[in-house]
Amino acid sequence: MIVNVNDLRLSRGRREILRGVSFAADRGELVALMGLSGGGKTTILRTIAALEPFDSGTVDVGGVVLRPGANARQTIRELRKQVGMVFQLHYLFDHLTALDNVTLAPTRVAHVARTDAESRAMALLDSLGVAHRRNAYPRELSGGEAQRVAIARSMAMDPPVLMLDEPTASLDPARRYELGETLVKLTKDGRTLLVTTHDDDFARDFATRVIILAEGEVVEEGDPRQVLTNPQHESTKRLLQRTGV
């Protein structure tokens, strides 16, 4: 298992956001994290990305272990070689072109030669269908284009685990299908994808496993077709009603 989250607990003030979350993900898996808003999905991704310190439990990604509180800079540096993240709002760097967004980390962090970084970035943008937008600034990109550039940016460092926060949120059904196929393609060489989503169709069609979160706990997990067609837990049922199935 490349991702091992064990009994993760996190409170902000008096509010318990995560109440002992445990799950694991294997190489090549596409895991969908689902649950009502406020259920802690995004927070889990943020703790795995070491953007959010937690109170107890452990996060282990490819052998790099995060512990409660502040972690050593060295640990975080190692962790970030293991995990990439695509934010819901993309957060492409406003002052850089699409291509420069993708080459920034390879040239500055991995110290890859500029020409090599650019040809690899072009290949990535091409595989995601946005190569023609390489010289556009983020403000000039459509939502779908920005998302694909953001995926390319995370992929440029070639992390074994890629996390996407609500990638389906602002896509129409056709685009959503395209995205699903792209993500499945990314898992083919053994990469693990953790994806939060509200979209049970998307999870059913593309995820290898679904994890249902409710009030900071994992309430149900398993094969998406099974869990989402025949929900056992009350929260899962509510979730499916809400999404209008």
């Binding site: 002052h95 962090v109 600034y137």
Partner: protein
């Protein structure tokens, strides 16, 4: 009801005009600058509300002769002419020199005191510097917009000295002692007073130019001028002026000789003389000043640009410190910003140039650059801090998840984005700095505004110098203001 209101308004207006009107029955309002000090006019050390000096005594004689009471009005030395012309007081005195522009612009009394422009040097230099030719390439200071200043400009052209202009007549002598200057050219009575106060200085015997002090009145005020001239002549003849001058230790054989001929001097008739000379002499005079205005513009621009670079550099350091550093450094930086923003830049310039001169003797231009730069750094830092904090947290987190170090997040993502946000307000600040740079004339840097003031004093009018000066400032600042506007709209559309 309405009638009563009308009466009330009338009373108010009447009252207001009475305050405005210079000539009040029974009182002779005379303007002078007590900052000029003894022996002209100074605040009485035992009662600072009262002024004393030989000009005070002369004014009292005038008032007495008119059957009025003398009342002193404080006015900056450089503004005496303009103030009397607009009617702030009846007559301006306190070391006002007799010059052709004054005669053209105002009604002037007969001269009542004769002085000489003399050089003062450090005592050890007495044998080295006896004339301007020996001062080639050296700095000679004086009060700006005076006869002495004009004489030094001539020496600059003829003998290659460097002129340093001051707004007061105290600091030149202190700077002479400290080695910032090699000589000071000023009126002999100012020199005599200063060497008694500042040790180690010696006055050279040569008289470089003779000048006279006069009283100035508004141009149309010739009736009062004529009466005052009569009073002055009488007081010269009956020995009253001699008594006053002896009392203030400014009596000499030369003065005695002057007072014997002075009563016979016919006052210049402003109407005739001015009318005849103005048209012929003003144009070449204006032309003569244009190169120096352009030169002063170069100083203004160079100083503004250099100060802005310094302000940006230090501003970035302060802002990053306040955003990133720990409690103590942050508190120190916050204190710096608050102190600098909470005190006048004029005071800061004084402290840097004169206050610190016993510790470190900064050259004037450098002090000006540091003063403006350090002052604006406080304002810039606030802009940058705001801009740094305005960069969305998500941008920083995205950079972190890519593996960028905190330093890289700052230099590759947060800094460049904040810089774009800061560009428009920075440009506005630069325009403000361009204009604030005029303050450095207090520490002897002659920039555009100061040169304009000198220009105006010498041709006796603010109209043309003022227009030229304003035009030059606008030429520099308008494109910048346009740039700021452009950047603002560009960035706004970019972030939408």
């Amino acid at each position: 009801m309405q009638a009563r209101r009308a009466v009330f308004v009338f009373c108010i207006l009447h009252f207001a005009f009475c305050i405005q009107a210079a000539e009040q029955p029974g009182i002779l309002r005379w303007g002078g600058d007590a900052e000029g000090g003894a022996p002209f006019v100074e605040a009485d050390p035992s009662n600072p509300a009262v002024v004393r000096g030989f000009d005070v005594d002369v004014a009292e004689q005038m008032a007495k002769g008119l059957g009025r009471k003398a009342q002193f009005v404080q006015v900056a030395f450089a503004s005496i002419d303009q103030s009397v012309a607009r009617g702030d007081f009846d007559i301006g005195m306190s070391g006002v020199e007799d010059t052709p522009p004054r005669r053209a612009m105002l009604s002037t009394t007969i001269p009542y005191y004769e002085f000489h422009e003399v050089l003062t040097v450090r005592s050890e230099d007495v044998s080295r510097f006896t004339d301007f030719s020996q001062l080639r390439g050296r700095k000679v200071g004086t009060l700006s917009a005076t006869i002495a200043y004009e004489r030094l400009l001539r020496a600059q052209r003829e003998d290659g000295i460097e002129v340093v202009s001051y707004d007061d007549d105290v600091h030149p002598y202190e700077d002479l002692r400290e080695g910032r200057l090699d000589a000071v050219l000023l009126d002999n009575i100012i020199a005599a007073r200063s060497v008694s106060r500042v040790p180690g200085l010696t006055i050279l015997p040569t008289n470089f130019q003779t000048g006279h002090y006069i009283g100035v009145l508004a141009k149309e005020n010739t009736a009062l001028r004529d009466r005052i001239n009569d009073i002055l002549r009488a007081r010269m003849r009956d020995g009253t002026l001699e008594r006053i001058y002896r009392k203030w230790n400014i009596w000499s054989d030369d003065e005695a000789a002057f007072l014997r001929v002075a009563p016979a001097i016919v006052p210049a008739r402003p109407g005739r003389i001015a009318g005849a000379t103005q048209k012929q002499s003003k144009l070449p005079l204006i032309a003569r000043y244009i190169p120096s205005l352009l030169e002063a513009s170069v100083i203004t621009i160079a100083l503004s640009c250099a100060s802005m670079v310094l302000a940006i550099f230090i501003g970035i350091l302060i802002a990053s410190g306040r955003v990133y550093a720990n409690g103590l450094s942050r508190a120190i930086l916050t204190a710096y910003v608050e102190i600098v923003r909470g005190t006048p830049v004029l005071l800061q310039l004084f402290v840097l140039y004169y206050g610190l001169s016993s510790v470190i003797r900064l050259p004037a231009f450098l002090a000006a650059l540091l003063g403006l730069g350090l002052n604006y750094a406080a304002y810039e830092s606030e802009i940058y801090r705001g801009a740094l904090e305005a960069v969305p947290r998500g941008q920083l987190e995205a950079a972190r998840t890519l593996g960028l170090s905190e330093m890289q997040v700052f230099s590759l993502v947060r800094g460049p984005q904040a810089f774009r946000l800061a560009l428009a307000p920075m440009t506005n600040d630069f325009v403000a700095l361009l204009k604030d740079s005029s303050l450095v004339s207090v520490i002897t840097v002659v920039e555009l505004t100061k040169q304009t003031q000198i220009f105006a004093t010498n041709i006796g009018s603010w109209v043309i110098p003022g227009l030229l000066c304003a035009a030059l400032y606008l030429i520099f600042s308008l494109p910048l203001a346009r740039l700021a506007g452009y950047l603002e709209t560009k960035w706004r559309s970019a972030s939408e």
